[in-house]
Symmetry: C2
Subunit: 300 residues, 2 copies
């Protein structure tokens, strides 16, 4: 079924122990859309500035990503992020960030997207997330991501958003910050009280955890011996998860589990190269193969 | 089949955010033996000093733990450890440690133990570990634990030990220290080059990883919402793992996986109370039930 993502589109400069890449394509919506497009057609909503290189518009050539909702805004500049994983591969240190177009009004959702059933509100200001969600006619499953910045500075707006979504995806540090709970299971339960029916806590190299009112499900990361650039791992995870979910038509516990495993596997490709390189180098067949390997490895 | 453990027996003082316990029973061999005794009879080898309270000798009453190898040494003092998890539940801060009897000669292995087939050399000086291993007639499966202290100060002896054992169990920080590899899979592969046929890396709340020449298997921790005292979790994990393995007669990948899951489950009881409280409050039936629940939760 129709999957819509809205989030950031950016130009990244990334440093890891394996090198540096200047002005490569990045942003939460980009990673999400690429990852989800292994499973289903994706509708992309986001804005870039006038300065944005043409190549951003061709990155989805040959893939089922509808870029009608990709707005090139005159007089604006593209979101830019410069991050470093040189000291710690598990946590990006932001060297510089220019919100630019992200600090402006929300991008417009094309009319033909308004019937989207599956929606992922990638990380951006929670007021913008609500605004975009409000425009959609009858979404069936809405999942959002967030970050420290909004938890700290825009908690009221975030709490309003949480009452309107089905699932929240966030990392361990963010879950602790949002709830004040150090233990992640207790933190997840607190998040559930805030509104979502499920919460997925991403733990980087340590995998992820899903909590619903009934269930707690933990999954390790796919064992990776070559982590080149973790940028976009969380968004690719969400893309794999939502991409798979949108093809299933249900969110039973076992469907969500399988979706998390697909997210895990897709993210394992993302981190194996800089920018989109890892995702560009794989295929649905390879993803399915690794998923089966992962499933096998997890069963005992 | 016969399972022998040798390691420390101690009097602990432990502080966690949930309180403080003075002079409680602890030590690697104690936790291991208690945990393993849910699966199989255990032969315990270790030494305490004259000062040791009588209650240490009764802690295994009613359990299949043979304490013939528990030596009460005249003129010596019992190993004592005072640790705090107040700042970080994932890593103990040692407030004070008195090796006492542990710094003396190795305890004597009773003659009736010399035919032991399954052996766990819990954490102690690697020269003592070799000495005790050398006394055994024909062990079938030998697994050892170690720690930072020996990796840093007694690396040569440790490397000699690694050539003589089948499996090594250690935590993530120790694996990185031993090999100089930050990535845990690469670290595990380096350990395999040092001799063992398998290595288990314990990652605390993030579970564990098994590496052999053929396989990498990762397992999350059992999701625990109440961690009261992490002391002994690693030793209980090893006890559950070896206890189960010794009843199986083979070390096929699927047997080892199941054993790791039993180790994980047993450790989840240990951390739910201070000292041996968590283990004393459970039963083999409860362990089996939680193991099935864990297995179910892991399959997708």
């Amino acid at each position: 079924m129709s999957l819509l993502v809205t989030g950031s589109i950016g130009i990244d400069t990334v440093e890891t122990p394996y090198g540096k890449r200047d002005d490569v394509i990045g942003g939460s919506a980009i990673y999400f859309a690429y990852a989800a497009s292994f499973f289903t057609p994706v509708r992309l909503v986001g804005a870039v500035g006038e300065d944005c290189p043409e190549k951003i518009f061709s990155v989805f050539d040959g893939r089922e990503v509808d870029t009608l909702g990709l707005e090139r805004r005159k007089g604006s500049k593209t979101f830019r992020w410069h991050g470093s994983y040189v000291k710690d591969m598990n946590e990006a240190m932001t060297v510089e960030v220019d919100l630019n177009v992200l600090a402006e009004r929300a991008p417009k959702i094309p009319d033909t997207y308004l019937d989207s059933r599956y929606v992922f509100l990638a990380n951006t200001h929670p007021a913008l997330q609500q605004q975009m969600l409000g425009a959609l006619r009858q979404p069936k499953l809405v999942v959002a991501d967030t970050m420290n910045l909004w938890i700290t500075n825009e908690k009221n707006e975030l709490l309003k958003l949480l009452k309107k979504i089905d699932g929240l995806v966030l990392n361990d540090g963010e879950a602790r910050l949002l709830t004040g709970q150090k233990n992640l299971i207790l933190a997840a339960r607190e998040v559930l009280k805030m509104g979502p029916k499920f919460v997925v806590i991403k733990k980087g190299e340590h995998g992820c955890m899903l909590c619903t009112a009934q269930d707690t499900f933990v999954l390790p990361a796919f064992p990776a011996d070559a982590v080149i650039d973790p940028t976009g791992a969380g968004d690719s995870f969400a893309g794999g998860m939502m991409g798979y979910l949108s093809t299933q038509g249900n969110t039973s516990p076992s469907t969500i589990k399988r979706a998390l495993a697909f997210g895990t596997v897709v993210a394992s490709y993302t981190i194996a190269d800089f920018s989109l390189g890892g995702l560009q180098g794989t295929s649905r067949e390879q993803i399915d193969e690794r998923w089966n390997e992962f499933k096998q490895a997890m069963s005992f």
